[in-house]
């Protein structure tokens, strides 16, 4: 598998020829099922583009079974990502909570972090959660915030994959698991030295002569 994503570059330099756009063309025109609340597919918006399969090169190889998953989805029915990796409440829970111990397979992988950052912008996560995940329409995902559904790797995976009731879409029917793990890896890196493409600080105020009138 060749490395298709270039070394970290500012988001502003991303353009249409980027291979990530293949993934996006796939997804453009697909309504998100979480909005309908029940069915796995929604109406295509006007101008929808036909959806080829997610290219293997973008997804990072064929879908593999994730470490630590308790169940194997039946082939051909539930999309591979659309099954929780974290604990399901119930009397069957024994021993250690896998949510607190499960690792992100992309821990300490700088190129995965960079891809996660690019996905965060390209999949419009930034539009809801803020340009650098500081919140807005959706909640702050940076370390200063308490996550409603937990911020362990498995919790992040499930929130992205399954969606949440106040408007977080269920991306698991659209994104393969390792793409979701890369997004989770980016979230995990926020506020650390490893956070890619950190935000530039805002200017304190505009220069005095920059606009008129002045009062």
């Amino acid at each position: 598998m060749c490395l298709l994503f270039r070394w970290p570059q500012p988001i502003a330099a991303m353009h249409g020829k980027h291979p990530l756009m293949l993934l996006l063309i796939t997804l453009a025109g697909l309504a998100l099922p979480a909005m309908s609340g029940c069915s796995a597919s929604g109406p295509s918006p006007p101008g929808a583009v036909a959806s080829p399969a997610v290219p293997e090169s973008v997804a990072g190889g064929p879908v593999q079974q994730l470490p630590g998953t308790a169940t194997q989805p039946v082939s051909g029915t539930v999309p591979p990502a659309f099954a929780p990796v974290g604990p399901i409440p119930g009397p069957q829970m024994q021993g250690e909570d896998p949510a607190t111990t499960m690792q992100n397979p992309y821990d300490n992988d700088p190129s995965a972090l960079e891809q996660g950052r690019q996905l965060f912008v390209a999949m419009n996560c930034a539009g809801c959660h803020g340009g650098h995940a500081g919140g807005g329409m959706g909640p702050d995902l940076r370390p200063d915030h308490i996550f409603a559904y937990g911020n362990a790797p498995a919790n992040l995976f499930d929130s992205i994959s399954m969606g949440r009731g106040m408007g977080m879409p269920a991306w698991g029917t659209k994104l393969p698991p390792d793409v979701i793990w890369k997004l989770a890896a980016y979230i995990q890196s926020l506020g650390t030295q490893q956070e890619p493409d950190k935000a530039a600080p805002a200017p304190g105020h505009a220069p005095d002569s920059i606009a008129s009138p002045s009062y």
């Binding site: 353009h15 697909l30 918006p45 803020g130 340009g131 500081g134 200063d144 408007g167 009062y215």
Partner: protein, 629 residues
């Protein structure tokens, strides 16, 4: 301003203030020529206004839909959107004695935009999501709740609202309280019983649409509009029949003339707004379907010209390079026939918008002398930083002057209606443009002004915020943001962040300003016959100021920043009351919410840096305040 001019004006201002103080002291001051009451003192700790220009003459000003009998049945008070009440029991001489008579928490930690209605003996308040309607009994002391209507809108709509889960209020019509729900429905509730009369679904959150605006009712119809310009919605205004909520007509903001209800009656004043199917031809193929132009602001009505006036919002995306063309009819003021929806005139504020300067700002309708002769005016204190004055019979632009620091355009041509843009401040894809003024939140946002026919001034809660803007390619995924820019905002030049600006409409210049140095302003304004102007700050101060001079005569520290619109009414006991919501939230103040981080200057669509340290000044939590003497 030249030094000698400033000295002359200072002398004039001092004379004006003294004269005004004497006038306000009441008739006694004139009957005893040797004795005059001292002017009321400035409220302790309150800011002092900056005097800039003399007051205008303010004669022959005619309000077209004056408020009557102490009620407040329309969101803006009056259909012409002056937010002026003639009530004067509370006035400049006695307002220092204003006290809280009751409070009510809404239990919701989100921005409480909008205003209560008062119909008969009942006050009606609409809360932010979950959009409850609460009826308050004004006959009993301290206003107990009569009933609560809980519509339970779809919880997923919370994740689709761009700018907090706000609701700007209801309208009263035909025995019903009518308002919008976040999940794209309009409801009508029986004003006496609190029972739902009808509920109409108007669209779906699945394509990024929500509803937050306050409707307006005219004759047998109620007008509502959608939100969602940052999610690729297609904007519209819809007329529902008040009796049963059925759809009477819908005018889209983009698409064919047929879809936009543009037909033989349509006579735009300027050539730039003339042509066939401009709502399609000024876009790349198909782009108009996700082109924005949502109608999420205020609607005005003139019962004399019998037209409704409103503006729509920005085109989607914030990356203009993705949508070459004028992008009609985004950012356009429309005049329409309320019965048929047919457009009579239109004026697009800025073609091919690159700054998110929504044109949904209120349009104040007033008849007054303009350069020597009476004219039917439309005052639009625009988001793009200019106060525009139009002839509302035909859409002719009569004046456009900057009211805050602006650099994206130098001026507007009255001949062509086009802004003279400065290309240095127009963002382009994959490039960073710095120090654009005003920011996307504008010289002011949706938060409404008030016009006082006694002074001829429009009172503007203005921001002074500038921004850095980096557009990038936006990807359309239905139901998610279709944004396409990183924006970072920060205070503008001159050392002030917000100001209540008293703007002389006739002379197109400010008379006085009351500046805020810590935070911008993002609430509404009320003007009254008592020579008072009421407004609230983002750190929770609710103030009454002298309408002529800006002197702060009374202020009260409420529990949370104010983004609500003050209103006034006469209670069943014949007393005048003032009411306002406190409860910080909304777009510009979003960093006050716990769900927004101080550590990301691009969070909340870039507003974090515009409200530095706001978490130290206020926290969310809605409370209704009612005041009286």
């Amino acid at each position: 301003m030249a030094n000698d001019g400033r000295r002359r004006l200072t002398r004039w201002a001092l004379t004006a203030v003294t004269f005004t103080a004497l006038a306000l002291a009441g008739p006694a001051a004139f009957s005893q020529s040797s004795v005059s009451s001292p002017p009321p003192p400035t409220a302790e700790g309150a800011p002092t206004p900056k005097q800039l220009n003399p007051l205008p003459t303010a004669a022959n000003i005619h309000t077209v839909a004056p408020l009557a009998d102490g009620q407040w049945t329309v969101p803006a008070g009056d259909e012409a959107n002056t937010r002026f009440s003639p009530l004067k029991q509370i006035n400049a001489t006695n307002v220092a004695g204003l006290k809280v008579v009751t409070t009510m928490a809404d239990g919701i930690p989100h921005g409480w935009e909008g205003q209560p209605l008062v119909v008969g003996d009942t006050m009606y308040v609409v809360t932010p999501y979950p959009d409850k309607l609460i009826a308050i009994d004004l006959k009993a002391p301290h206003g107990p709740v009569k009933w609560i209507y809980s519509p339970n809108p779809d919880p997923k709509s919370q994740g689709v609202a761009c700018c907090d889960v706000v609701n700007r209020g209801a309208v009263y019509a035909d025995g019903k309280i009518i308002y919008n729900l976040l999940d794209v429905e309009t409801v009508a509730v029986d004003a006496k019983t609190g029972k739902q009369v009808w509920r109409t679904r108007l669209g779906s959150i699945r394509d990024g649409t929500t509803m937050t605006m306050a409707p307006l009712a005219v004759n047998d119809k109620v007008f509502v509009g959608n939100s969602g310009n940052e999610l690729g919605t297609r904007g519209w205004i819809t007329a529902l029949n008040v009796s049963d909520g059925s759809i009477a007509w819908r005018a889209y903001s983009t698409g064919t003339d047929k879809d936009c209800l543009i037909g033989p009656d349509f006579k735009p004043y300027y050539a730039k707004d003339r042509g066939k199917d401009l709502g399609v031809t000024t876009w790349p193929p198909g782009q108009w379907k996700i082109g924005g132009g949502a109608v999420w602001g205020w609607i005005s009505y003139d019962p004399e010209t019998k037209l409704i006036y409103y503006g729509d919002g920005n085109p989607g995306t914030w990356n203009p390079t993705q949508r070459p063309g004028a992008n009609k009819w985004s950012n356009t003021i429309f005049a329409r026939n309320p019965d048929t929806g047919q457009a009579v005139w239109a004026f697009q504020e800025d073609a091919h918008d690159a700054w998110d300067y929504d044109t949904t700002i209120e349009n104040i309708l007033i008849d007054m002398p303009w350069h020597g002769r009476m004219r039917k005016l439309l005052i639009h204190p625009g988001r793009m930083g200019f106060v525009q004055v139009f002839d509302r019979t035909n859409g002719q632009l009569l004046s456009a002057e900057k009211y805050v620091p602006v650099n994206w355009a130098r001026s507007y041509s009255l001949e062509t209606g086009l802004p003279d843009e400065d290309p240095a401040y127009r963002p382009h894809v994959n490039a960073t443009t710095s120090n654009i003024c005003p920011s996307s939140t504008g010289g002011k946002d949706w938060n409404p002004t008030a016009f006082d026919p006694q002074t001829g001034l429009v009172y503007i809660q203005a921001h002074n915020v500038c921004m850095t803007d980096t557009p990038h390619k936006a990807n359309y995924i239905a139901g998610t943001p279709y944004l396409g820019a990183d924006v970072t905002m920060f205070p503008g030049p001159g050392g002030w962040e917000g100001a209540l600006i008293a703007w002389d409409v006739a002379d197109a210049r400010p008379v006085w300003t009351l500046e805020e140095t810590k935070l911008p302003l993002f609430g509404g304004v009320l003007a009254t016959g008592g020579n008072l102007v009421f407004y609230g700050t983002l750190d929770g101060w609710f103030r009454a100021v002298d309408a002529r001079t800006g002197q702060v005569l009374w202020q009260f520290k409420t529990s949370s920043g104010i983004v609500g619109e003050p209103m006034t009414f006469v209670g069943p006991d014949g007393k005048q009351y003032i009411a306002v919501y406190a409860g910080i939230g909304g777009w510009l103040p979003a960093a006050a919410l716990p769900s927004v981080s101080d550590t990301d200057p691009t969070a909340a669509l870039g507003t974090v840096g515009a409200v530095p340290d706001i978490k130290k000044y206020t926290a969310p939590g809605g409370v209704l305040y009612v005041f009286a003497l």
